[in-house]
């Protein structure tokens, strides 16, 4: 929306392109500018030495970076709009904003991520430059777009 010119009514639901009917409640994404319902996935717990910034690029031998692998997994059932990596080590996190998500639940996506195998290693390490272990990866969207 270019400007808020509402003269009556509430600021939730009536202008919300979302799939939630919650009204005037906390922790609900109110989508006024994107054509379809949004979802925000927080994906983390990749191990103590994870470095997702390095994993934005491929390995020296062309192996996919872990971020690419994770995004492709998410994109199998959603359209990725934007993403960001943060921190390193045990608090490394990939934040993904998607629209039209068809993932049944966070648990479904989490299971898909945990099932990933590195293309070279054949193990749960999907990193091209550092160890990105998905065995205990955690996925949640319950926080919505609350910023850290």
């Amino acid at each position: 929306m270019a400007t808020v010119t509402k003269v009556n009514g509430d600021t939730q639901v009536v202008v919300n392109v979302g799939d939630s009917l919650s009204k005037n409640a906390n922790a609900v994404i109110i989508n006024t500018g994107i054509a379809s319902p949004l979802k925000a996935y927080k994906i983390g717990t990749f191990g103590a030495t994870a470095n997702l910034a390095a994993e934005l690029s491929r390995g020296t031998n062309g192996t996919e970076g872990a971020v690419e692998v994770l995004l492709r997994t998410v994109a199998a059932n959603a359209t990725v709009l934007a993403y960001q990596v943060d921190a390193a080590g045990s608090s490394a996190q990939l934040s993904v904003l998607v629209e039209r998500s068809g993932w049944g639940s966070d648990a479904d996506l989490q299971a898909a991520v945990r099932a990933l195998l590195g293309s070279e290693t054949g193990t749960a390490n999907i990193g091209s430059k550092s160890a990105i272990t998905v065995t205990s990866a955690a996925v949640s969207s319950t926080g919505g777009i609350k910023l850290a």
Partner: protein, 148 residues
């Protein structure tokens, strides 16, 4: 994007509809699905705010705009708001998260504007500056879209 099918290159900048040339780094929004650069504002309200932001999504019974509408209105004069969310209901922890595109307003400028507003609550006290005069509402965008 429907799916990541990149066969070479990195996962940042080359596909990024953004205004940052930072490459392969943490805390940088990588925008692949929204037509113009996006920015995420985190607004942490003043500690003296005892109001309930969920209630402030609607106007008062007399038609006074809710605090959320007032806060959004100040940003939308210089940006297009795509989505927003409120969180928490306890004093000192209330937060509004906003994703906007084509923003011409820095976080510090937005903060300055908000701090001039005082109590903007329609149903309860929502101080953007402390009732005693100290201005403690903070606006940041440096965290990007890292989900809490």
């Amino acid at each position: 994007m429907a799916i990541v099918t990149k066969s070479n290159g990195d996962s940042q900048v080359t596909v990024n509809v953004g205004d940052s040339l930072t490459k392969n780094a943490n805390a940088t929004i990588i925008n692949t699905g929204i037509a113009s650069p996006i920015i995420a504002y985190k607004i942490a309200l003043a500690a003296a705010t005892t109001g309930n932001l969920a209630a402030e999504l609607s106007p008062s019974t007399a038609g006074t705009p809710g605090a959320v509408e007032t806060i959004l209105g100040k940003l939308s004069s210089n940006a297009t708001i795509l989505a927003y969310q409120i969180d928490a209901g306890t004093a000192g922890a209330q937060q509004i998260s906003i994703i906007a595109e084509r923003s011409a307003m820095s976080a510090s400028d937005y903060q300055t504007i908000l701090r001039t507003l005082g109590n903007v609550g329609s149903r309860s006290n929502v101080y953007l500056s402390e009732s005693g005069g100290a201005a403690t509402t903070t606006v940041t965008s440096s965290g990007g879209i890292k989900w809490a």
